[in-house]
Symmetry: C2
Subunit: 478 residues, 2 copies
């Protein structure tokens, strides 16, 4: 494709994008297709000769759109938001044009250096302690990971290596197998599935600890577990605390957990994948108090801060722990300036990495901190509007404190009627939600997701849910 | 940002992109900046109020471009190529507009279904055995991973789980630590650094085996190692064979290795990150013979097949091995159609995933198989042109067979003069190369990288190198 054609087709694509997003409310939030729907809609092999641009464009509506779950629709309230913004898209266009792989400083100095600066910008927006910043007094710094799963895993593995080195100083003959059989990591019974998975990948025991009535892990619970495990001769080494659980947006008590971790030499990692974005607002920042005790902190700007997936930001107080987690250093990746600026390949699971800081730079500059704060506040306000509607209907109950942009609610009574409510609502396809469960209590989760969601959309959602409840209440299940 | 502004700014960005790529030869391939160059060029915190688009655009040339290593420049010959194409960029624009996260079928059916179909399209282009295809007779299929590092790791971990289940059937009390201390994985001494890293992450012993004079791992070497390890009571479980090493583009002997793995129940994974794209050309396909013995096969369309990073395609003969590697299944990710189409979240390390099959679809349709084959052949031809030039100069020698688009060469004599040659060439910044080493023999690697590299660019590179050699030969190092 020549440049003039790219400009022409690209212009068409820009207009398709704006038209798609401007008119997204007219589409079902959740598609009405069966598994396997696409087979048969396209040939079973690639064309030998090029297809025309026009044919491809036609197929976007014919083949792709019928099966899209519209995450950017104001009628989509499932999971958590995944950010979308025009600013981020523009940054990604530039990223693709440069088309570099930023695994070392030398492989593209700007890719590394902008990331260093953006991690400090963002860290300051969150009022992270200076110890986490490149510009701070210690060995702190941050890096963009693909996902919170990878951030958790990278920290767990870094902690595993740290403990391997420490324990080998005491017992030189210690094997990795003996170590992993002795290590214990902790998380709450509300932690994200990726935390359990990090334990499985790291081959270490991940012990799930009971939370209090609000889904929060408390210091005493952790302390008891650590003492129990130490008494058994085990080595507590890692805690993944959650600030804003996926289930109900509960917050572990960092101010209690932090000192317990410090006392027992346990690496405290904080997973604030969703809620972390809100800490740019001073009124929500107290939820992060205690972060000074953490070795590492992670949240996803790609969830709630307008930078598109993938952009998961991780800070550590001692970057050496990431750097030396796996010290593999082939000649073809060495360069003359090693050690001055980070070589981010050491800080993550994969080797390759895109120029993702560009989209952060575009978002932060084109939106500014105040607009980003307003956007968070809007979503929280909408959640409270929905909460008020739910509370106004005596058939319903709220299942967890509404703190951020998530409302957990259910029909009073046995789980089955709420399960049916969810099924009916999703089958209708007008709005889309997913469920969760706490202590055997099943509920629906309504998360404010799309950038354009407004009060009318939330009222619309409530109407859909209320009508579905009306039908269920008229003909309860056998 | 409103839609009309996005169309306006997006149009400007499209023109910036084409202008950047059309004029990229006028820029230094390798930047002339010192570590830390960017600090001071931008403020030390994010703006409270939005910056203007115009100011941001100006800063692309002022702040970013001076520190860019131009991977898409025809004067860039370092590492391996990272694909760039307008077709892929257009597909990514659509991906960002849809802005979905495709972790389950239900989270965006089209995202999963197009990926299933594209993996079959691509598998057929490579003439993979039917056993690897979704449309094949068995349990085969493929998935897009972020990088080859992750594909290798995912397969190694899946094999670890498989062996854990098997060994626990024999010894129910076996712990994971005891298992990992017994497991042995293999790769050649030429394997990519990410393979060694996968062993470290998986906490298993990764034994590097000696290759033959051409850098190829042979069947007898593997067999001997397996028998040795079995005699020690260890459990050989995984081989990462390489088709096209990073060091010199050597090919492990799959036809020898495969039967050895089958005989001893070892999972053979093939890492063809770079060279795999060439297997769409019938004349190169014989290099993949033996793949029928592999449990898994991976290559990176984002390296040499016009789909931009990240797009690393992995096929397995039994998708259950990935699916059940880590069976973590929270309620908020369940859906009613589980088990019919894949839920790709189980097939990879991270949970989240972009709609990456769109860029593959755009590339395959807008370019067609024949053009993609021609593009591979052009790069291989250019490599041979360069090889001929090197061979014409008696001061130089070729260090490895030229099979794909990579030429390994050196100045005859001690390593030091080739090391100086590389340093001088890279400092000049006109072209960019990286070195490697085989059996203590240091050499320079010239990889044909950019989509537009032509014969003149290769001649230009040779002139730069020859002139640098002239200077060195006049004043040899002490």
């Amino acid at each position: 494709m020549e440049s003039d054609k790219f400009e022409e087709y690209g212009g068409e694509m820009l207009r398709y994008v704006t038209s798609y997003l401007d008119n997204i409310r007219s589409r079902r939030a959740f598609p009405d297709v069966e598994p396997g729907f696409m087979r048969g809609l396209i040939p079973d092999k690639a064309p030998d000769d090029p297809d025309s641009w026009q044919d491809l464009v036609k197929d976007i509506e014919r083949v792709i759109m019928p099966g899209v779950t519209h995450w950017q629709s104001p009628k989509f309230f499932a999971y958590f938001p995944t950010s979308s913004s025009y600013a981020s898209m523009l940054g990604d266009m530039l990223c693709n044009a440069i088309g570099c792989i930023g695994f070392t400083w030398a492989s593209c100095p700007s890719c590394t250096e902008l990331e260093v600066l953006m991690m400090d910008w963002l860290g300051k927006m969150l009022q992270l302690p200076d110890a986490f910043l490149f510009s701070g007094p210690g060995h702190g710094g941050g890096v963009i990971q693909g996902t919170a799963s990878e951030a958790t895993l990278m920290c767990l593995l870094s902690a595993r290596t740290l403990f391997y080195k420490r324990e080998r100083e005491k017992r030189a003959e210690l094997t990795m197998g003996q170590l992993v059989d002795s290590l214990v990591a902790y998380c709450s019974d509300q932690a994200h599935s990726s935390v359990e998975r990090a334990g499985l990948i790291g081959a270490v025991n991940m012990r799930k600890l009971e939370t209090d009535a609000k889904g929060s892990l408390r210091g005493d619970t952790l302390k008891k577990a650590i003492l129990e495990d130490k008494a058994k001769g085990l080595i507590p080494f890692f805690l993944c605390a959650t600030s804003g659980t996926t289930t109900s947006c509960a917050f572990d008590n960092l101010k209690e957990l932090g000192p317990v971790c410090e006392e027992h030499g346990v690496w405290m990692h904080i997973d604030a994948a969703y809620a972390g974005s809100a800490f740019i607002c001073p009124e929500f920042r107290p939820l992060l108090d205690g972060v000074e005790h953490a070795m590492s902190f992670n949240f996803n700007p790609h969830k709630w801060l307008k930078a598109m997936f993938d952009c998961s930001t991780l800070w550590v107080q001692n970057t050496d722990h990431l750097r030396y987690a796996f010290d593999v250093d082939p000649l073809y990746l060495k360069h003359e300036n090693q050690g001055v600026m980070p070589d981010f390949r050491h800080w993550q699971i994969p080797l390759g990495r895109r120029f993702r800081s560009l989209k952060l730079w575009f978002v932060l500059r084109l939106m500014g901190v105040k607009n980003l704060q307003q956007s968070i506040r809007k979503d929280v306000r909408l959640a409270h509007e929905f909460e008020t509607m739910v509370k106004s209907d005596p058939r319903f109950e709220i299942s967890a404190d509404v703190i951020m942009g998530l409302v957990c609610f259910r029909l009073k009574g046995p789980n089955e009627i709420s399960e049916r409510l969810l099924r009916d609502v999703n089958t209708g396809g007008q709005i889309h939600l997913v469920p969760s469960k706490m202590k055997d209590n099943y509920f629906l989760r309504l998360a404010i997701c799309a950038p354009d969601t407004n009060s009318d959309d939330v009222k619309y959602a409530w109407d859909v849910i209320k009508k579905a409840a009306d039908v269920i209440m008229k003909s309860p299940i056998a």
